[in-house]
Structure formats: structure tokens, C-alpha cells
């Protein structure tokens, strides 16, 4: 069995969020060192605020200001903070019911160790020095030696230059493993050999191989060398440049049925003016030094394939 290939796969996007009226007031308030909640129909004060009443589902708008001190309602110790968490040193995740609020807010508590944290502990907001209108405007909570004070007071919720959207970077780290069939195929490609698999049931040859026939659902065991020549079954001319793709437009993106394969794979056609590419054109792969996959396919100079020979592959 060939050695398993693995590689990191990082997915990272900066997503944006429109905040709507309630979240906008809440986050802008944090920028101004004001913590806002919203009063639900049953009189409870929700912090962080919700746009819709969790019981009646009606819109709720009545904003109130609550205290910046509060009580820990429950907690969990985080011994090994990850990048971009609120604190770089070990801390407690806490749910804090701020004075004047009826629900609790999730945040971090700066504490020397788990023995210093308890449900019922009194805490206060530690504001970030640079505040932008985000939950991180509260840098964290810290222990506070004082009784429960304050209650919710009405607040207009309007500020100059309100925050109306935010950017939420998201990142996922995967370890990608292509699996046995594809690993074998990739090894063959490195030797400039195009291979597929024949299904033992329907006898169709799938390229690239996937270890099983997608139609019959049975394991494919027979390796088949295909191509290297093939036929352009259909194509389009791409006139808009794709991000992160160093190919000049226009170029031809084609479906290519390699000789011996029962479905077309996708590739770029070059070595011929883009406007002379046609269905039925006979092509062969061209590798660049060190590349695993063909860089493109070029005309072989053979006569075009007859439509009837590839129409079942469209």
C-alpha cells in the first residue's frame, strides 16, 4: 500500500455581519463603556440583548442600561488558551449576570487559577483600551469586591456614529488526507501516468479514481491506464479572471474524455488560439517540470473525433 499523503487545509474568511437595531445599540454601547440590555415582555432584562422575545417571539425594543459589575452564575477553567481567545494566559470562561440583568453573558474571567473562581463570585468589567464596538471591547472580567448594586435604567440606545456592521474572521484548520485510491492516482500522475479504475459491475472506467463506483457502490479493484490522449467533449471560453489563478484570459476550460475513460475530466486547453478550440478536438496532456497535474492539454494534430464517438459523454 502506498504511503498516505496528508497536507494542511486552512479555510479562512472574513465574514461580515449587519447588526440590526438591537445588536447595533449593544455593541456601540460597549464602545462607549455602556452595557445595554433589552426588556422582554415578561419584564426580564436580557443581556446580551435579543431582537425577538424568546417567549412570545415579538419584537422587543425597550433598551436599558445595566451595571458593569455582576455575579458569576457558572464557569469552566480554560488551562490552555488558543490564539485569539480573550486572554493569552489560563483563564475561566464565565457566565456573568450583570447587576440589573436577568440573564448571563458569556465572557472570560482573569483569575490566577481555578481555585480562585467560584459560582457566586463578584466580578467587574475590565474595558479594553482600544474599543471599536465589539464584544472584545470588554477585555475580560476581573474579581470585584463589592455588593450587587444598580438596576436597569431606561436608555435611548442612540449614539453618534453607531456601529452597524462588524467583520468576523473565521478560520478552520483541517488535516487533509486524500485516501488510498487518490493517493495511488497522484503517485501515478507524478510519473506522468494517467490512471482510472474499472468498476467490476458496470465495467465503466472512472477517472480520476475514487476507490468505488459512484453508480454501483462497489469497490473498484482494477487499475486501468487511460489516455494520455483524449477528446474535447465540450468547453467554455473563460473571459473573467479568477482570483488566485495566474492564467491570462481568455482561456479555454474544457471537458476532456481521455481515451479509455467513461467520463470526462476537466482541464485547460492551450497551444491553440482559444477561438479555434472545438468539440471533438484531439488533445494530449502537457506537464511542467515538477508538477503533479498536467498544466494544460494541447492539440495532437489528429483529425477531430466524430461527434458520435463522444456524445454519450456529454
Amino acid at each position: 500500500m502506498p504511503e498516505q499523503l496528508t497536507a494542511p487545509l486552512v479555510v479562512s474568511f472574513p465574514f461580515t455581519r449587519s447588526l440590526g437595531p438591537v445588536q447595533s445599540a449593544f455593541l456601540t454601547g460597549l464602545r462607549e463603556r455602556v452595557v445595554l440590555g433589552v426588556r422582554a415582555h415578561d419584564g426580564r432584562v436580557l443581556v446580551p440583548p435579543a431582537e425577538y422575545d424568546p417567549t412570545t417571539a415579538e419584537e422587543i425594543h425597550e433598551l436599558v442600561e445595566v451595571g458593569t459589575t455582576g455575579t458569576v452564575t457558572t464557569w469552566a477553567w480554560n488551562p490552555a488558551p488558543r490564539p485569539n481567545q480573550p486572554l493569552a494566559t489560563p483563564f475561566a470562561w464565565v457566565l456573568v449576570r450583570l447587576d440589573g440583568a436577568d440573564t448571563a453573558l458569556l465572557h472570560a474571567l482573569d483569575a490566577p487559577g481555578p481555585e480562585a473562581v467560584r459560582t457566586g463570585a463578584r466580578v467587574r468589567v475590565r474595558w479594553a483600551e482600544q474599543r471599536t464596538g465589539a464584544i472584545t471591547d470588554i477585555a475580560c472580567f476581573e474579581p470585584h469586591d463589592g455588593p450587587e448594586t444598580g438596576h436597569a435604567t431606561p436608555h435611548h440606545g442612540t449614539f453618534t456614529d453607531p456601529v452597524t456592521s462588524l467583520t468576523a474572521p473565521a478560520r478552520l484548520d483541517y488535516t487533509y488526507t486524500p485516501g488510498r485510491a487518490q493517493t495511488r492516482h497522484l503517485g501515478n500522475l507524478a510519473r506522468h501516468l494517467l490512471t482510472g479504475e474499472r468498476c467490476p459491475s458496470c465495467r465503466k472506467v472512472h477517472v480520476p479514481p475514487r476507490g468505488a463506483c459512484p453508480t454501483c457502490g462497489v469497490a473498484a479493484t482494477e487499475q486501468v491506464v487511460v489516455g494520455p490522449r483524449g477528446t474535447v467533449t465540450t468547453f467554455c471560453v473563460v473571459n473573467i479572471k479568477a482570483r488566485n489563478l495566474a492564467i491570462d484570459v481568455p482561456y479555454v476550460y474544457a471537458h476532456i474524455a481521455l481515451d479509455g475513460a467513461d467520463l470526462a475530466l476537466h482541464g485547460r486547453i492551450a497551444g491553440i488560439p482559444y477561438d479555434q478550440v472545438r468539440m471533438g478536438l484531439r488533445v494530449e496532456p502537457v506537464w511542467r517540470d515538477g508538477d503533479r497535474h498536467p498544466d494544460h492539454y494541447r492539440p495532437t494534430g489528429e483529425p477531430d473525433a466524430d461527434y458520435d464517438t463522444y456524445k454519450r459523454l456529454l
Binding site: F15, S18, T164, P214, C236, V237, L245, P250, D262, L314
Partner: protein, 388 residues
């Protein structure tokens, strides 16, 4: 025991736009859901379950948004289900909700689908840079353009068919106040001269990227009897799937689409879809897919979809209007796009489609597809309740 007949008693949608910065995700779905409830004259407490659909989570980067949106949809204390079938998801979501009523699991269900594409990254959400793979050479348009070329080759369709469809759908959208694109004064000439993006697909023949949501209230006979406005009745609904790539796949007319339509027609007693269906809302993200789907769905003979387009039959005043709402070509919040097709079919048979109403529409087909022509969902709705 036979199935409970299912009625569409309420329909709501947002005003769709390139960016709805005025509302949060919750505010967006709320707008559609509220309109659907108002249409049915119901309150949140009348809803027994909520079924949500949207495109993959990567689009907006909110993992399991159904949890976060439960408050906005009045789902506290009720079952919430999430449906997930790529671009067809809006249709599948409606069918899952309809099946809950048909099976008498719930009497009244809210179905809702949405996308806030301005806050998402559809391109990257769909094409992650997978290690060891050659780079993808084109986006969605590039993926579908070769299949359009194959259709043209197979049928001998003239080059202008896609232009006719795009011009028609954009003109229909002018009559739909909710549509995203309102291209006043758009001429056939302007469509024909718009830039060629992925030859043979031109810029004006492609769908926009929209923010929007669509909601429907599905209910049983008792719910329909209480409804203040005439409902649409579900006469047939089906879903079919097939792999994106396999030896023998017909990319021009996928078997899953043909089988799905055949199942819906069988349920609805449709033997001659071309004559028995009054109006069709088909999922056409690139204009050429109208003639392709007309053939796939048996509304035109094989090879003759483009002739039906050329004849004018699919125009709003033709004898088989297709996409009177303006279609996906005029409004495309991906997750909601399928439900918008289903909802428009229902609006038509309720006689509630406003300026884009097809006079006297009694039976309408709603259609959605998604993935690499991998998932299909369709329903047939009628003004009259099913018999038997």
C-alpha cells in the same frame, strides 16, 4: 390511511437586494416569516414546527444558523429542522414541511429559506483549495457553460435562445416589486451585447447575488378552511438526487430531474404536462437552462425546448409562461431561490401574483435544482384541492 391534503395558506418574502444592510440575519428571516403569517392571518403560536433551509454554512460563516434564528422564527418550544440540499434547498425545505403536514405529524408548519449573500463568500464557500488537487478553472458560470454548449450541439439551438430568456425574465421582474433586479428599459440588443463571461454565457444571462428570504405556511384541511384567502393545494412533490460526476451522467438532461418530474406528475395525475400545466417557475440561474429544463421536465419534446422559447410560449402572455416572477435570473438569494420558485407557483394558482399574475392559472409547477445538477426538488400546486 391516505395522506392529509396540504395547503399553502401563507406566503411571504423579503424585498430582495444586493445587500440588505438594514437588517441582521434574524431580521431578514423575520421579514419573510412575518409576511407569511400575516397572509395566513396566523400568529406565532399557531405554528407547530419550523423547517429552515439555506446553502452551506460556509456562505455566511454562521455554523448551524437555525439555532441562532429560533427566536426570530418563534420556534421556542417547537421542533426546528434544518434541510440541506445546496441550491435546491428552498424546494426541499418546502417539501419536508409539506410532508410533516401530509403525514399528520403537525397541522401547521412554517417553512423558511434564506441567504444573505452580501455577508457571505459564495465563491470560496463552494471552492475550497483542496490539497493535491489542480486549481478549479472557473466559478459556477464556468462549471455550467460547457453543459450549455453541449445542449446547443445536441439540439442545434440558435445562439440567441439564451438572450431571449434573459430578456423575458428581466422584463417579468419589472412587474415583481420584490425582485432584486429591476432593469428598466433593458433591450434585447443590450442583452445580446453584454460581455461574454464564459462563452457561450453572457453577463446578462447570469443570475445576480442577492440577500433575501422566503417563507410559507403549510397547513391541513382544517387550517385551509380557516384561512382568509384561497390556498394553493399541493398535488405532488418529489426530490431526487444523483452524484455530481459519474460515468453515464447526462449533464444536459440529468436523469434525477426527469425521474423527479415523472414522480410529481404521477402523484398529480398529470399525463400531458405541456397542456395541463398553466405556468412553471423553474430554477434557471443561467438563461440557457430554461430550454434545457423544459425538455428535462417533459414540457417540451427532446431537442425542442429552444423552439418553445422562440415561439414565445414561455413569455408572460404565452400559453406556458415560465418564470413570471423574473426567476433566479432576477433574484438569487441562493438558499431561498428554490423556495421562491415554489412560492411563486403557489401565488399563481391562488391568483395572488399581482402584476405578474398569469390569468386563470389553475396548475403550476415549482422546480429547484442544486449542486452540480445533483439535487432536484419539485412540486405541483393547484387552485383546487386534490380529489380522492
Amino acid at each position: 390511511m391516505s395522506k392529509e391534503p396540504v395547503a399553502v395558506a401563507g406566503i411571504g418574502q423579503t424585498h430582495h437586494a444586493a445587500a440588505r444592510r438594514d437588517v441582521s440575519l434574524a431580521g431578514l428571516v423575520r421579514e419573510a416569516a412575518r409576511r407569511a403569517l400575516d397572509d395566513a392571518a396566523l400568529t406565532w403560536t399557531d405554528i407547530e414546527a419550523v423547517v429552515i433551509g439555506k446553502a452551506p454554512d460556509f456562505f455566511e460563516g454562521v455554523m448551524m444558523p437555525e439555532l441562532h434564528l429560533a427566536d426570530a422564527l418563534g420556534a421556542t418550544g417547537k421542533p426546528v429542522l434544518r434541510v440541506h440540499t445546496a441550491g435546491s434547498v428552498g424546494g426541499s425545505t418546502a417539501l419536508v414541511a409539506a410532508n410533516l403536514v401530509a403525514a399528520r405529524v403537525h397541522r401547521t408548519v412554517l417553512a423558511l429559506a434564506f441567504e444573505k449573500q452580501s455577508e457571505s463568500n459564495a465563491m470560496w464557500g463552494l471552492s475550497l483549495p483542496v490539497p493535491f488537487q489542480p486549481p478549479l478553472l472557473a466559478g459556477a458560470g464556468g462549471f455550467f457553460a460547457p453543459h450549455v454548449r453541449a445542449y446547443i450541439r445536441r439540439t442545434g439551438a440558435p445562439a440567441g435562445t439564451g438572450t431571449l430568456v434573459a430578456h423575458k425574465d428581466r422584463r417579468n421582474a419589472l412587474k415583481n416589486p420584490y425582485a432584486h433586479l429591476h432593469e428598466h428599459g433593458l433591450t434585447l440588443e443590450a442583452v445580446r451585447n453584454s460581455p461574454m463571461l464564459w462563452d457561450p454565457i453572457r453577463y446578462s444571462e447570469t443570475c445576480p447575488s442577492s440577500d433575501g428570504a422566503c417563507a410559507m405556511v403549510l397547513t391541513d384541511r382544517a387550517g385551509a378552511a380557516r384561512a382568509p384567502r384561497p390556498p394553493a393545494w399541493v398535488h405532488g412533490g418529489a426530490m431526487r438526487s444523483e452524484p455530481t460526476l459519474f460515468a453515464g451522467k447526462d449533464f444536459v438532461s440529468p436523469r434525477a430531474g426527469r425521474d423527479c418530474a415523472a414522480d410529481v406528475y404521477r402523484q398529480a395525475g398529470i399525463t400531458d404536462p405541456r397542456r395541463q400545466i398553466d405556468v412553471a417557475e423553474l430554477y434557471v440561474p443561467f438563461s440557457w437552462y430554461e430550454p434545457m429544463w423544459l425538455e428535462n421536465l417533459g414540457l417540451a419534446a427532446e431537442g425542442e425546448g429552444w423552439k418553445l422559447v422562440e415561439s414565445g410560449a414561455t413569455e408572460l402572455d404565452g400559453d406556458l409562461p415560465v418564470n413570471p416572477s423574473g426567476g433566479v435570473l432576477s433574484t438569487n438569494p441562493i438558499g431561498a431561490s428554490g423556495m421562491l420558485r415554489f412560492a411563486e407557483a403557489a401565488l399563481q394558482v391562488r391568483g395572488a401574483a399581482g402584476e405578474h399574475q398569469v390569468p386563470g392559472a389553475r396548475r403550476a409547477l415549482g422546480h429547484a435544482y442544486g449542486g452540480g445538477a445533483q439535487f432536484f426538488a419539485m412540486w405541483l400546486v393547484a387552485a383546487a384541492p386534490p380529489t380522492g
